[in-house]
């Protein structure tokens, strides 16, 4: 029985319960994510991080949220009032909606009902996620525009341009997954990985492109140009305060968890256990798969934090160049290769033909790389005339072992 058939038998009350569970998971995960991020980043910087509120500071993000909610809610005089209020609602609700098609557990028992923790299973589930996150961009654009101020407008334009360009690369990296799994349904993709091998292994280039573009898509460091504090104050949410700001904050983190969950589903085998640990999936009546799922999601979340802790912010032109001139062409070529291999396989070509094709691709790619390298204009170098050795002590340069401070002999 497929997951879609299983979910089709859910009574209405169970659907409502699942809605509630998904919502609670998202909000709780956000609270935990904020705390985890602050603690882990602190660790990476030899600090402790929040440790005052609750055990080990666990309630810090909750108290921050309460504080935000109790703050004065300001709507600027120049703002378009209706759009100003609607924008954060759009941004947040769309992030939550993306979670509807993510399969979080295998078959489990909820109040005596056999089902899976997945709200619905669309045959075009992944396309639905892409569509919903694209609508979420409206929240950002409208917030920037309706604030009636320069910085939010610039920030809003930046982040929408960013999200849209990286969504192209993201969508293209998913095409290879669709070709390989033969379906766009999230649960079918998870099943196909369970039968064969993780997509992260067979479609490694797609996996890398997806991970890069998901960071770009969520406006996170090192791609957080839209919220470049030094340049744009706060980006599109500069004029927002109180609960509306909290909604954007929530949207950002739910979005991160959503793209991480999608990465888990499409590339790391979803809720299934690591290879060789399949017996754990039966523990706790199948609920142990939820733990596997969130372990994998946390792996991606850790990558987000690690990037933020290690890398400086990109310049805008470099960022766009990387997205359009590197990620998109590479994923287009990769799709061609995957599609050709797939067709060869399905048409029953002999193994030798497939291998010959793969070898040919490798040779062509290597030839292209060497051609590009050769055609690169060699940078002419003129050595600067050496000045006289200084007659006073100077600190040694990093690449110089020692320097003559006596001057002369």
């Amino acid at each position: 029985m497929t997951t879609a058939e299983l979910l089709g038998k859910d009574p209405v009350w169970l659907i409502v319960v699942k809605c509630l569970i998904v919502f609670i998971i998202c909000v709780l995960a956000t609270l935990m994510a904020v705390w985890t991020e602050r603690r882990v980043l602190a660790k990476m910087q030899l600090r402790t991080g929040p440790n005052r509120v609750g055990p080990a500071g666990l309630l810090q993000s909750l108290s921050d949220g309460v504080k935000l909610a109790l703050k004065e809610d300001i709507i600027p005089a120049a703002a378009d009032k209706v759009v100003f209020i609607i924008a954060p609602i759009i941004a947040t609700s769309m992030c939550f909606m993306a979670f509807a098609v993510i399969p979080m557990t295998g078959v489990v028992n909820i109040f005596g009902h056999k089902t899976a923790l997945q709200l619905t299973d669309l045959p075009v589930g992944v396309l639905y996620i892409l569509a919903v996150t694209s609508i979420g961009v409206y929240g950002v654009v409208l917030a920037g525009w309706s604030s009636g101020s320069t910085y939010p407008l610039l920030g809003g334009l930046r982040s929408s341009a960013q999200v849209i360009s990286y969504e192209v690369a993201m969508g293209l990296s998913l095409v290879a997954v669709f070709i390989y799994a033969g379906s766009m349904s999230t649960s079918a993709i998870v099943d196909s990985q369970h039968q064969h091998i993780w997509n992260a292994v067979v479609l490694f280039p797609s996996f890398v492109i997806y991970v890069i573009s998901m960071v770009g898509e969520t406006n996170r460091a090192p791609f957080d140009l839209a919220e470049a504090e030094g340049e744009l104050v706060g980006g599109f949410h500069t004029e927002y305060s109180s609960l509306k700001f909290a909604l954007f904050f929530l949207a950002e983190y739910v979005n991160i968890i959503a793209v991480s969950a999608l990465a888990t589903t499409l590339f790391l085998g979803g809720y299934h256990a690591l290879p060789g640990l399949g017996f754990t999936e039966q523990w706790l009546g199948g609920w142990f798969t939820l733990i596997w799922f969130f372990t994998k999601v946390n792996f991606f979340f850790f990558i987000f934090m690690w990037l933020r802790g290690s890398l400086p912010r990109l310049r805008y032109d470099q960022f766009m160049k990387f997205g359009w001139k590197v990620l998109i062409p590479v994923s287009l070529i990769w799709i061609l290769i995957v599609a050709s291999l797939r067709v060869l396989q399905q048409e029953g070509a002999p193994r030798s033909a497939i291998l010959a094709f793969a070898a040919g691709v490798v040779v062509i790619v290597m030839a292209m790389i060497s051609l590009i390298e050769r055609n690169k204009e060699k940078v002419r170098s003129t050595v600067l005339p050496e000045g006289e050795a200084p007659n006073f002590p100077v600190p040694s340069l990093p690449q110089v072992q020692s320097i003559n401070v006596s001057g002369g002999k």
């Binding site: 882990v40 602190a42 660790k43 990476m44 910087q45 030899l46 600090r47 402790t48 440790n51 690690w306 802790g309 290690s310 890398l311 940078v379 002419r380 170098s381 003129t382 600067l384």
Partner: protein, 208 residues
């Protein structure tokens, strides 16, 4: 006015001679991006740092000792018999670059002997909203009356509370000290006091 115009014209002429396309410049070799292994080094730095001991001092719970010569709150010291060392000379107030110290001297009388010799500090205030803890007042003090402690928790919620009076600054009475006012040690002059000849209070000093 005419001179000025001439100068401008000369500058224009020299600028006009230089062709923007023939400005000499030196090309420098660009090293380009580092290898992937080199770039991965940065990630290793942040990752390994997670497992190092962090440097945070849990301040209100744990108070790390200061350096021994840390410039903290001031203290007005006493002679071993309890008399104040401050003679109200105002040198500290004059030395203070932030104008944080106010001193008014007063005369020692037989019934009101607060310090050895003729004078004592009648009013002594340090304004910790102004003080920059430079220690010039301590250097200026001729009797070693003013020194600095290691105490640094001086924050408060009222401006008035941060002007410390003489009572707030005076060192506590130790073993063998008598609370002034009381007469000087019998047979000792103020010079003896400064030379450290007085080691403790004499029983006769306690009698009023």
């Amino acid at each position: 006015m005419s001179d000025f115009n001439e100068k401008v014209e000369i500058e224009k002429k020299t600028l006009g001679d230089v062709d923007i396309n023939s400005v000499p410049f030196t090309e420098v070799e660009q090293s380009g991006p580092a290898s992937l292994a080199q770039q991965a080094k940065g990630f290793w730095v942040t990752f390994s740092t997670m497992f190092k001991k962090n440097q945070t001092v849990q301040y209100p719970d744990v108070k790390a000792p200061t350096a021994p010569r840390f410039h903290g709150r001031h203290q007005l010291n006493r002679h071993p018999d309890g008399l104040e060392k401050c003679i109200g000379c105002e040198l500290c107030a004059w030395a203070c670059p932030a104008d944080a110290i106010l001193v008014e001297g007063g005369n020692n009388t037989p019934g009101n002997q607060l310090s050895p010799g003729e004078r004592h500090g009648a009013v002594y205030q340090i304004n910790y909203l102004r003080c920059i803890f430079c220690g010039l007042c301590v250097e200026a003090c001729p009797t070693r009356a003013l020194t600095m402690t290691n105490e640094y928790e001086l924050a408060d919620d009222k401006r008035e509370k941060l002007i410390f009076e003489k009572d707030d600054l005076l060192a506590p009475l130790r073993q063998g000290m008598l609370a002034p006012p009381h007469p000087m040690y019998p047979g000792m002059t103020d010079t003896n006091y400064y030379n450290g000849d007085v080691k403790e209070a004499h029983p006769s000093q306690a009698e009023k």
